[in-house]
Structures are given as structure tokens and as C-alpha cells.
Symmetry: C2
Subunit: 526 residues, 2 copies
């Protein structure tokens, strides 16, 4: 049964910003496979951070850590999208075509080998002990003087030293297969020892300074493993609380949130929705602001009357322009649908209190499990690539297959899927063969659409207009996003909106990371 868990929202709020997200820039990905784990540069963040957050789900373990740097990484690691870094800039939602949503090309879930000389361990943690030393020094020395003991580095830069409270640094994101949790442990071990080396402190000192903020089910299952292997403090945080905390954080990062606008790019429909002529940038927000809870842009766009008739959902829904939210504002209340191995559906109230109201066991693990058995794909991303080349009508039973025509009286077109996999039955004990591409396309669509349908019904039940989809199932895959988005658009008759996040899989881990900032602060100020 779902349980109401109320907690006070702490981040981001209008009054106390623990993580200063002003001017945050999403760094461009190094390769398509790292699309969802590109770094976020926070030019204004000052608080010292020396902990590592890890969210261990049923299939993937997601890691977040922070490395200091006064400057964003140089080109080619420039900002991937236009960040709203200056407050004087007139900011409007940015619209791009869906093809700009990169589909991962290299399908393997990366398991970086931290021992293979660098890899993605691109920065070092700042041990708190150095901050404490620095704090003591600051009382004796001029704040402008250099502190030779502080080595916050991005390895791409030469080392430098700055006063304790210089701002700037990057959030780093990594993921590993839970089934291969040892790779995750080894990565963190390498990060810790590297940080000790870079900062010139002993490994014992570094370990005392570092803390693991663990969430997700694996935080419990692997608690002892992390403690014993890493010899650092491990703190466990509630999974749902971290998800919500993470959602609140990410919705404050410019260009993190995106959605399909009402601008129709192409339609498989012969009904041309009225909304076609609506310019995407119709709604202009004058002042970018990280803290003023003005009317959110998606909400104001929803005032536009929806198209009079929407085609039923299908694997090839009408295509709409993608809009990035460059001017983020608080997005509560909302529904959060987190699609990992399974699916959790969480209602978030305006004050940040929340309840897990629903869920389904038909999630990413189901799709990947089925397609593991039914296709030669060896990874989830390979399966996504297969689905791109598929035609579901070879395996799905369409209305036309049953009726020989449309079911006009109910407005069900002949191309509508009546029964997923309805053509794949044995006849007289013999089984025909089907293309892996068609199987992948059918099941990816069916799973996504089912989640969209259940999400819609919950949003309807609780009167929520904004539905955020998170979790590693999404993987920035255009077909998945379009299906989820269109399901919400269709069932809600355009009154509700599906919203997505570039770092969709990292809500829990960033939430756990943030929770420690809070607790550190309350500890240090008590």
C-alpha cells in the first residue's frame, strides 16, 4: 500500500539555495552513449562537497559526485545547449526537431574500468579535511591569497589552487550494471584514492573525509559490501525521498527539462490539428529566474485550446517539436513516473510532500527481459536500435486485421493496434518466425504506451497537469519519449503534458547527493 511521507522541501527553494544552480550549464556529451550522463557545470556553487552519491536499482547503479573548478571545461566540452547564464537575457523556450534528441549509437552500458588509466574519472573530490584546514587558515590570511593545500582539479586543466570559497565545479554522472556492482565499487575506490593523491593527503585521511550517500534498494542489499570494500561511512537514504529531491533539483537546471510542444512538425493523420499554426515561442518569459515561482511556461502553453481531434496513439504518432525549458521555475505539484526495472508513480504536492500512489511491474526490466529471450540483441540499447527498423504490424493484430476496415462507429482506425503480438500465435502447434526488429518495435511501443496510459489515469485522478518521466528506461530514445508524450496528449485531450529530463536516470542519485549537502550544513551550523 502506498504510504504518505511528508517532508519539508529544502531544495531548490526561493529563500535558501544550498546548491546554487544559477547559471548551471549542461556539458556536451563525449559520445552518444553518455547522453544522459553528461556533466552539469555549476559556476556559482560554493558549498564544499566531498561525498559520493549512489542509487542502486534492480538493473543499474547510478553514481553522482562533484569536482571543483572555477571554469567550465574548455571546448569541445562546451555547453551542449544554450544555458540561461545571464539574468538580463530574454529567455524563451528553445525548440528543436526530435532528431536532435540523440539516439545512443554505441549500445553497451558502459562499465568504465577505473584502473585503465583515467577513463571517466575526470576529476577529484575535495576532502573536507582540507576545507577545515582552509577555514582555519582563512581566519589568519587574506581571502585573496592562494592556498597551496587546496587542489580541486579537473584533470584536463593544470592544477591550480584557490581560496576555499571560490565558486564553480562540475557534477559528474556514471552508471553501472547492478549485476556487476563490483565495477561500481572499484570505480568509487579509484575516485577516492585518486582524490587523495591529487590533494596530497593520505588515503586514510581521504576515507575519513568521504561519505557514500546510498539510495535505491541496493543501498540496503549492498550496504555491507560498500562499507567493507571502501572503508568509508555509508549513509542510506529513502529511495522515494531522493527521487523527489532529485526532481526538484533537475527542474532548476536550464535546458534540463524538455517536452513536445504543440507545434506539429509532421503528422500521420489526415486530420490536421488546429494547433499546427501555433508558434512554439508564443509564450515568452521575460526574466529567467531560478527562485521566483512564476507561472511556468508549460502551464501557460496549456492554456491554448487543444487540437479538436487527436489521432489514437500508435507507434508512429504525429510528430511535435521538442522544446527545452531554458528558464526553469518550480514545477510542483506534479506526477513523477519513474521507469526503472519496474515503475513507481508518485504524486508530489505543491509543498513537496509526496505519496507513491501507484506503479506497475511492467517496466524496463520486463521489456529487456522479453527481448533478451526474443531477439539477438545483447544490450538494451541494441534492442532500441532494432526497434527503429521494425514494423509492428507484422506481429500486432490491427483493427483492420479483424474488421477488414476501420471500426468507424467508435472512431477506431484500421491501423490501430487491437492486440499487441496478436499475430504471433502458434497454429496447429507450429510456430512461424518473426523479425527481431518487428518484435522490438511492438513491445517497446506497447510497454511505453501502457505506462503512459496508467500515468495519465493517475494524473487525472489527482488533478495534476504535469507528468515527469524519469528512470533509465527512457534513455533519451525518441520513440519511447514520443510514445509516452503522445499517450498523455491523447488521453488528456491535450490538457496534460509529459515532461522529460536529460538526466532522467539520475533523479535518485542526485537526490541522495543533495540530501547530504543539507545534512552537512545543518551539522556544521549546529
Amino acid at each position: 500500500m502506498s504510504t504518505a511521507i511528508a517532508f519539508t522541501p529544502s531544495l531548490p527553494s526561493a529563500k535558501v539555495i544550498h546548491v546554487d544552480t544559477r547559471g548551471a550549464i549542461i556539458l556536451s556529451e563525449e559520445s552518444p552513449e553518455t547522453r544522459d550522463s553528461r556533466g552539469i557545470y555549476l559556476p556559482n556553487h560554493i558549498e564544499p562537497v566531498s561525498h559520493i552519491a549512489v542509487d542502486i536499482g534492480g538493473s543499474l547503479a547510478k553514481v553522482v559526485y562533484f569536482t571543483r573548478s572555477p571554469d567550465p571545461p574548455p571546448s569541445p566540452s562546451v555547453a551542449a545547449t544554450r544555458g540561461s547564464s545571464t539574468t538580463s537575457e530574454i529567455s524563451t523556450p528553445r525548440s528543436v526537431s526530435p532528431s536532435e534528441l540523440s539516439v545512443p549509437e554505441d549500445p553497451s552500458v558502459r562499465s568504465p574500468s577505473p584502473l585503465s588509466g583515467g577513463g571517466r574519472v575526470s576529476g577529484a573530490l575535495t576532502p573536507l579535511v582540507l576545507d577545515q584546514q582552509q577555514q582555519q587558515q582563512d581566519t589568519h590570511t587574506d581571502s585573496d591569497s592562494l592556498s597551496s593545500t587546496l587542489h580541486d582539479n579537473l584533470l584536463r586543466h593544470t592544477s591550480f589552487s584557490r581560496p576555499r570559497n571560490f565558486p564553480g565545479g562540475s557534477l559528474n554522472f556514471e552508471r553501472f550494471e547492478t549485476d556487476n556492482i563490483d565495477a561500481c565499487v572499484a570505480f568509487i575506490q579509484e575516485l577516492i584514492s585518486r582524490s587523495a593523491e591529487v590533494n596530497g593527503v593520505s588515503i586514510e585521511e581521504m576515507r575519513r573525509s568521504v561519505k557514500i550517500m546510498a539510495t535505491g534498494g541496493g543501498a540496503h542489499k549492498f550496504y555491507e559490501l560498500f562499507r567493507e570494500e571502501l572503508q568509508v561511512e555509508v549513509r542510506r537514504e529513502d529511495e522515494m525521498e531522493c527521487l523527489i529531491e532529485g526532481l526538484k533539483f533537475f527542474t532548476m537546471i536550464p535546458d534540463e527539462v524538455y517536452y513536445f510542444s504543440d507545434e506539429l512538425i509532421s503528422s500521420v493523420s489526415h486530420h490536421q490539428p488546429v494547433g499546427t499554426t501555433l508558434p512554439t515561442n508564443a509564450s515568452t518569459v521575460d526574466e529567467p529566474s531560478t527562485s521566483t515561482p512564476t507561472t511556468t511556461e508549460p502551464q501557460s502553453q496549456l492554456q491554448v485550446p487543444p487540437p479538436p481531434q487527436l489521432e489514437r496513439p500508435s507507434p508512429d504518432p504525429p510528430k511535435y517539436g521538442v522544446t527545452f525549458e531554458s528558464n526553469p521555475t518550480p514545477q510542483l505539484p506534479c506526477l513523477l513516473v519513474n521507469i526503472g526495472s519496474g515503475v513507481s508513480i508518485i504524486r508530489v504536492d505543491e509543498d513537496g510532500s509526496f505519496e507513491r500512489v501507484s506503479g506497475t511491474s511492467l517496466g524496463g526490466g520486463t521489456l529487456w527481459g522479453l527481448l533478451s529471450l526474443l531477439t539477438p540483441a545483447t544490450t538494451f540499447d541494441e534492442m532500441l536500435a532494432l526497434s527503429e527498423a521494425g514494423d509492428n504490424s507484422h506481429v500486432d493484430m490491427l483493427v483492420g486485421d479483424i474488421y477488414g476496415q476501420d471500426y468507424s462507429k467508435l472512431g477506431l482506425k484500421s491501423t490501430m493496434i487491437a492486440s499487441t503480438f496478436g499475430k504471433v500465435f502458434k497454429k496447429g502447434g507450429t510456430q512461424r518466425t518473426f523479425r527481431p526488429e518487428d518484435i522490438s518495435k511492438s513491445l517497446l511501443y506497447a510497454m511505453s504506451n501502457n505506462i503512459g496510459q496508467i500515468a495519465y489515469m493517475n494524473a487525472e485522478k489527482y488533478g495534476l497537469e504535469r507528468i515527469y518521466f524519469g528512470g533509465c528506461f527512457i534513455r533519451g530514445h525518441a520513440a519511447t519519449i514520443a510514445t509516452l508524450s503522445y499517450a498523455i496528449r491523447f488521453w488528456s485531450k491535450g490538457t496534460k503534458r509529459a515532461l522529460f529530463l536529460r538526466h532522467e536516470g539520475f533523479l535518485g542519485s542526485i537526490g541522495a547527493w543533495i540530501r547530504n549537502i543539507d545534512s552537512e550544513e545543518s551539522e556544521s551550523r549546529d
Copy 2:
């Protein structure tokens, strides 16, 4: 989008009973495989009937026809259940254990060969021409005299002749694979020629007298085929209208409707629900009646406070006693969830008007398609039998697999399924093997539970307490019924009830059959 189609309810209503269902008796099955297609004896029905109804869905074609007889078939074809045949009898819901719900043992969908000497063609149609002749004779002869031209036969009995308006006869039910529609056509052809022979009329005369009432998608797809092969009139009826008509009919047949009562037989739970002590027969309806819309028994039982805490749905939910509705009363408003190859969800208002409000493509065709590829089962029933011997925890990822324990804060037990098929992923490109039994159990549960969840949300949205599940997916299979029923019980906290029908797959065909009774009547009386 769903379209509202309003039509005036014609059957059964309190004032005009076209099909007299008083005293209706469900005949016992001849074998487990015919569980859902056992005949219904109508001792009081008088209207002449010479048409055949067929509902052709994506996977199955369902046939209904009527054969006259003044007496119910003799033992061993006696009534399967106690019918409420006398109005003076005090009637209470009958409670039986779930094991009394027979699970089909012979797994093949029967495709009777009508040419193999008898088979299930157990009776003959009465050609209308004979009724018309009889009608003319009746004006000249005493109504008590025997008419030698009228031969309504059950072949098990010797021939007899009776006046036109003697009451009694049986509804007969047959199903065929749509993929093998020729077998269905051949069966009807045999029925027509046999009826001509038995009644001593020419085949041409018989064909002029017979009509096919066709519904379902195949009514359109196979319209020409039926007309050309059978050389009889074929009339097409709307699928949804027939479903609702059929539901209204079946809910008037004693012992047709059944549901799980609040009487707990055994529970996997350590929480013992309060409702355990509630006697099933607590709510006694004094007067059986087919026409007085009194408070329905299921409704009155719903007044009982629900158990305080229900375990989450699982493939092994707590077991409740099965109650047959021996004293049927009109059951509107309600939600009808028809699970065929796909799923239609229809809201039915108190006045009989209805709207297809939702549906899902994840239905019987999906399950059977997946299991065709994933198991050696050659039929749907064989797959159901496999699932009985399965353990889903070998393929599903449970909360305990992720957490190593319960997720106590949210009340999610370690045995709860977090991700269906979540353990079935390839690792390093190699695929482990899984037992067909475990695969069947997992997917049957997941599909059933998903339908139950979507059904519940629609019932909630429209404020409906009664949810009827129809369609050939159910097949009287105890695990399917228990899953659907428990999903409704759990999600609605005991405030809504799942109801089932013995002839679950024949709603559309019986609806089409009844619609012709109406039109015949209006034609003959105009």
C-alpha cells in the same frame, strides 16, 4: 476517441420480456473443455427463433443458436447448478470453493467437425416458415391439437410435435478459431441442412427461414464469405451494442454470474483481515425475481466495511470463497471489461446507454503470442496448465531481490514483484534458460493484473462499483479470475467488486442473437 452510443435497453426489462429467462437452468458441461459453452435451458421461452448468431473476434468466432424442447435434457445433462426455478423459494447466494471452478483439462480449442456424424450439433433450428404455417393452422384448429408439421427436436429425444406456442428450449454455444473460419462456416452449414431434414422442409426453404446475426470485427471481414457459402441473409450488428445486450441477458440467468465473496478461505498474509468471520450468506434476498430492480446482492455485501489492510496483489493472492448469483437482478450501472485478443473497457449507465471509455492492446492475444514464442505450449489452455506448475519468482525481479529485504517504509513486501521478467536479461551476451512453467505463470499474472489495474482506474473515474469481466481470455481459469478479482479488491480497498460470467466469451454472440428477437418481433407485429 471513444464515442458515446446511446440506445434504449430492450432486454431484459421489467415490462417486456422477449426472452423469458424465468427458471433458466445452466446445463452441466459435457467435458471440462466445454465449461464456458454449456447450454442454457429456457423452460419458459416461447418466441420462435430460427436465426444463428456469430461473433467473430480476432482470435475466436463464437456461435449461439436455439433449439426447442419442452423439457430440459435428461440426466446426466441435468442442471449444473441449482437454478432459481421457483419463485417461492428463498434464494441465497451459493458459495463454493475455488476448486469448483473447473480448469479446462483438454487444452485444445474445439473445432467440431460437423460432418463427423453428430458431434455437438445436438439440435435443430425451427424454420420460421413452419411457425407461419402453424399460425395459419391455429386459426382453424384447436390450439391443444398436435401439429404434425412442427418438429422441434433435441436429437437425444424422440421426435415430437407440439402446438406452436409450447415453451422451452436450449441455447447452444460453440466456438471456433477465427483463423479456421471455414470450420465455423461448415458447422453452420451442417446445422442448417440438418434442421431442414429434421423439419421435413427443403434446404432452400430452410435457407430462406434462417438468418445469420453477425457481430465482432469478422462480421465485416467475413460478410461476403458467410453470405456466399451459406446462401442465407447475413445481418451485421455493432460489436459494442451486442456486448452490452449480452451482458444484460446473462446477468438475468441464475447461477451465471459469480464472484469472490468476502469470506476468506486461506490467506498468504500474516495480516488476518477482519472480514474473515463474515458469513457468505449474510445477505439474503427474499424473492428471486428477474424483473424487479431491487438492491443487488453484491451491492448490499459491499456495505460491509472492507478488511483494514489487504496484501498487495501477487500471483498467490489470499483465497476467497466463490459465490454464484442465484438470484439475478439488473446490474446497471457497471463497467464491462471485455478481454479478447485485445481489451475493451465500456462504461454502462443505469439506462443501458454506454460508451467505450478505454481499452488496452495488452490482452489475450498478447499473452498467447508471447507464450507461443517462449514456451512449447501449442494452445492457450495448455499454457494455462503450464502456469499452474510455475514459480514466477524465478523470472520476476522481486522487491527482495533489489532490497534484500522488505521496503518497509512504503509497505512493499520483499515478495512483491518489482519488475515482471526482471531476472530474464542477457548478461554479457549470453542468455540463461528459464522454465516454460515459470514464464507462463509470470506473464499470465502480469497481463491479468495490468488489466485489473486499468479496469479499476476506469471504475474509479466513473464511480462504478461493479466491474464485469468478459471475453475468452478468462476461460474460467482460477488464477486469472483470482488475479483480476484481487486487483479490484486491493486497489479499491474492497469498495468495488469484480464479477465474472460462466459464458464469459459469448456476450457478443448472445447479444446479436437477442437483437434479432427484437427485430423479428417488431417486423411481425407491424
